[in-house]
Symmetry: none
Subunit: 195 residues, 4 copies
Amino acid sequence: MDKKSKKTESILDAALLLFSNNGFYSTTIPDIAKAMGMSVGNIYNYFTSKEVLAKEIIKYSSNILGAEIRKVNEEECSVKDKIRKIVALYFEMASTKPQHINYFLRVYLANREVFKDGCEGMLCVSAFVTELMIFFEEGVACGELRNQDFFSAFGLFMGYLGGFVFLNGENVLDKNINHYVDDIALNIYNALKQQ
Amino acid sequence: MDKKSKKTESILDAALLLFSNNGFYSTTIPDIAKAMGMSVGNIYNYFTSKEVLAKEIIKYSSNILGAEIRKVNEEECSVKDKIRKIVALYFEMASTKPQHINYFLRVYLANREVFKDGCEGMLCVSAFVTELMIFFEEGVACGELRNQDFFSAFGLFMGYLGGFVFLNGENVLDKNINHYVDDIALNIYNALKQQ
Amino acid sequence: MDKKSKKTESILDAALLLFSNNGFYSTTIPDIAKAMGMSVGNIYNYFTSKEVLAKEIIKYSSNILGAEIRKVNEEECSVKDKIRKIVALYFEMASTKPQHINYFLRVYLANREVFKDGCEGMLCVSAFVTELMIFFEEGVACGELRNQDFFSAFGLFMGYLGGFVFLNGENVLDKNINHYVDDIALNIYNALKQQ
Amino acid sequence: MDKKSKKTESILDAALLLFSNNGFYSTTIPDIAKAMGMSVGNIYNYFTSKEVLAKEIIKYSSNILGAEIRKVNEEECSVKDKIRKIVALYFEMASTKPQHINYFLRVYLANREVFKDGCEGMLCVSAFVTELMIFFEEGVACGELRNQDFFSAFGLFMGYLGGFVFLNGENVLDKNINHYVDDIALNIYNALKQQ
DNA sequence: GATGAATGAGCTTTCATTCAT
DNA sequence: AATGAATGAAAGCTCATTCAT
């Protein structure tokens, strides 16, 4: 990776962290610059506006999350196990690198006006959606999952996991989020399996 | 209802609409005032700050949604039917009065800093959560639903429906959202039912 | 005193207290109304504006302070004793009804723009100035005080006392302000006496 | 002095002039910006708030006045002469750079709420108070002044001079303020001298 | 006389973006 | 590439004053 790409990525990382913690509008460009030890003006040499930066971040996070799911997709195991692995990695991510999931929940999902131009129709999260689509279609193909509308299944999977991470952030769960993996994987499997 | 309460509620309605359409930070008090044909200063005679207004709105919407679910809870029918009715009313709401659900998704869920003081731990949405808790516990009591952690079930129900409404708003669904009611109700039932 | 005058005076009292404690600009008409248990609008039936109210108050306080000094002027005693009595009553006032002196220091002396029209040249504090003028001229007439420009003497007297009350308010004095009466009366006497 | 310090000081000068002429609350940040030919926002790159600016100004003026008095303190002359010189320089200042003294009278002395945090107990005017303390203690040490409480003497000195500058500003004096120097210096000397 | 909802101009402060260096 | 001072529009909020009741 060349020097320019390296700096571009470190801006993405710093901004991701701040946006996901404090929200898009409560994070300022000077905040990001200070967090990086970089000047305000120089950030604009890498991203032409705050909105563009926000759009690049969602693609960046979507790629990272998608790559994790691809690893599961490439494993040789039952669909039931795959579901468990995806839930586990999602919650693992929520514990160790929560910025990716929080960015999705707090920035992407919420500030639609920011992602209006250029991210229509899940375009900016397609890396991630695609992997789930592969997972689902393979599960249907091998007969383990019921054949249904993809978005009915996707909404279940992602809404459930996202909602649960939100509940965890609200501190309403009795136990650590990782304790819920089995329960939740089972619920998802029961919902999607061939009855 | 006296005159003052009436105006208070009409501010809630106007602000709810704007916040849910444009987001909390992209909606200004002048925007709300203009939408109401009211002066900026007068809004502050009813709500002491923009944040306070946002908190009152989430309680207001939570009450309205909760009241709808209570009606289903009070009906005499199978749990399976109740799930279907709740999904249907949720999507009906998303079609006819989307501001309530969008406010939940776009404002409450996303702008945590705004709801920090006074809404901790789902406090401001308790009217709504309580009804779902009643639904779930009755379902368990009559043996139709598997006994599991409430939040595992709640996260499924609400994450799923919320996520699906989001997908609908993104225009990625092939059909009108009401066409998915049966699929989704079935998935939820399969996930939660006594196996 | 008729009902109207009574209410007028109670507005003066309430506003005097608030203005002297919090300053002219930091006190609002609603503050005054609330302190009185009266409506905002009704205050305007008694005083046509906040500025007019402020001007009436300085006359009101000047009358009260002037009346106190007149009592001393009317006593039969040496000029030296009169000085002591005036200092003592001034500090007594500063302890028991500080609003009058603080209004003079914090509102009248400071916010010149408010008193521009109608209070030029000490006009609004003439009741008070006049009494000190009488005191001074009698002292000169009886030979106890040196004949000098009145304002040289007035500035000493009032600047000194006012400044001292300010120091007291700043909590920089070691002892209670009343302990300084003798020292200060002596200093003033030494400054003004026939050498 | 570097460029940034230079601009900081020129903001202090501009704001001092406006505050002392028009009062703290009647002077707006846009007023100051316009007087400087600078943008509103940029002022906040130098001072974090209007209150902070006001506090910096009182320290700035206190330093300037203190430095003038130090010069007198360092001269070799009688205490009587020093009093005259201090009175003369004070009135000279009141004529040529009245903003410093007026700021003290109209802004610092009056708007206590503004100077509440960080300027307690004359802290922000200590440069000035210290010099007068030195003057007084040297006068006592050499036997020319009566040993008395410092604040009794300080209140006389500063209250008198401040009060007189106020009277001058009110246009009630018959003659130019500089004509009163001898009278006033004599009064102060008589008050403080060893009898 | 008495009320207090309503007005709207104006305040302090913020911040994305620019640009001379 | 890098800096950070500078801009200025726009935000949230306040409050003297009015006026229908």
